[in-house]
């Protein structure tokens, strides 16, 4: 049985750990609330751009833009959005595992012929894919602490540059879509070429009586990159909100575990103390008896 002193040291160290996890949980919950707000407030912008494009693109007969054109897929770029930091449960592990699964299932041939490029966003994804010797196209790390729209801007500019330069013919993004505190879903979305703008029911809008300034073509051309940027921006925000939610849950579980451990340690501490006292009393009584005889 452990000595009293050993148990006391363990109790103290676990108490400290508990303090840290509790603080991390609180910080995560504050950050999470903010992130959740950002997710909701980014939606109107994305929806409006989408709406305008939906109205416009179908009206342009014979409009071909490199970003819309479907090419023969020779090379694929996969953008994987993870977190910059750990201590958020299985968030990063799950994401990377899913990304690797998707690669093995759908892009195995590309991987074999080294035609699969990766664009990790977030330090954890970068570390993993760099170590495992995947072909990296670019990376974007340490952005989540101060996430701003210009981060999305940079990422998209880099992707568009590579895409128009024909370094790859298809771009997909893999990220955590935020559902609720306890639920996030890892999704794979096609990013480029831009999927056709049709309504969910398969129809497409036709609004032809707009006045355009300058031409409809130029407006669509200026909107397409911005549409892509808001898409990445949303993915970043959703991933960040999921990360904070995951951290909150993980740290909450850690705090509970620490408390459970403290209860059982306190019990064995008291038991050991009791045993010690009993032995001492026995010794004293035994000594007194011996003197009496």
């Amino acid at each position: 049985m452990a000595t009293l002193k050993e148990i006391r040291t363990r109790i103290n160290s676990i108490r400290n750990t508990e303090k840290i996890t509790r603080a991390m949980k609180m910080i995560a919950s504050v950050k999470f609330r903010k992130a959740q707000q950002n997710v909701t407030s980014a939606r109107p912008y994305a929806r409006k751009i989408d709406e305008i494009l939906r109205n416009l693109v179908p009206t342009l007969e014979g409009f071909d833009n490199q970003l819309l054109e479907v090419r023969e897929t020779k090379k694929v770029l996969m953008v994987v959005i993870s977190a910059d930091r750990g201590l958020c449960g299985a968030f990063n592990t799950n994401l990377i595992k899913s990304a690797v699964n998707i690669i093995n299932e759908r892009y195995y041939d590309f991987l074999k012929s080294r035609d699969l490029l990766l664009f990790p966003v977030g330090k954890k994804a970068y570390d993993y894919f760099y170590k495992k010797d995947y072909d990296l196209y670019a990376r974007s790390v340490n952005i989540f602490d101060r996430l701003s729209f210009s981060d999305a801007d940079k990422i998209v500019n880099e992707i568009i540059q590579g895409y128009t330069g024909k370094l790859f013919d298809k771009v997909v993004i893999v990220y955590n879509e935020f559902k609720s505190v306890v639920q996030s879903r890892i999704v794979e979305e096609q990013f480029l070429p831009i999927p056709p703008f049709v309504n969910p029911d398969g129809s497409s809008n036709k609004v032809s009586d707009y006045i355009f300034e300058p031409s409809a073509r130029e407006i669509v051309e200026s909107l397409l990159p911005r549409h892509l940027k808001t898409q990445i921006w949303q993915a970043l925000l959703e991933s960040y909100a999921s990360e904070q939610a995951a951290r909150m849950t993980a740290m909450d579980a850690a705090t509970t575990n620490a408390n459970d451990l403290l209860v059982s340690l306190n019990l064995s501490y008291n038991r050991a103390r009791q045993a010690k006292i009993t032995t001492e009393i026995l010794e004293i009584v035994g000594g007194a008896e011996a003197l009496n005889e």
Binding site: Y45, A46, I49, A152, Y210, E213, P214, A216, S222
Partner: protein
Amino acid sequence: MTEGLIDLEIVTPGKVIFKGKVRSFTAPGSEGSFQILPRHAPFISTIIPGVVKLIPEEGNPRKFATAGGTVEVHSNKIIMLAEEIYPAEEININEAESEILEAEKILNSKEPGLDIAGIITKLKTAKAKLKAVNS
């Protein structure tokens, strides 16, 4: 008097900057500044860096500095999409001036590989900020 009003929404990726009814809306279009009054025909235009003015239903006219975007008018509703837009009340003149100086410095340095278009937009936006405050 609902006839003399038009709905306006100014949206950025971060938040909705303005939402409400206005009497008029003026913006710097890529082919010249334009004004939109209630019951305007469906219209789409790109916006260049400059000053956006609007007259709300009640209260004083308001001014904003923008780095550009898109305006759509459709069924008596204006939607302005902008990546950056700053209400004149929130603009810091000193900051705007130092932004102008910095942008000019970068432009003059003529380093290779510069994102000239991006810097010119920045410069114009900073100038628009000053104009939004001073005019």
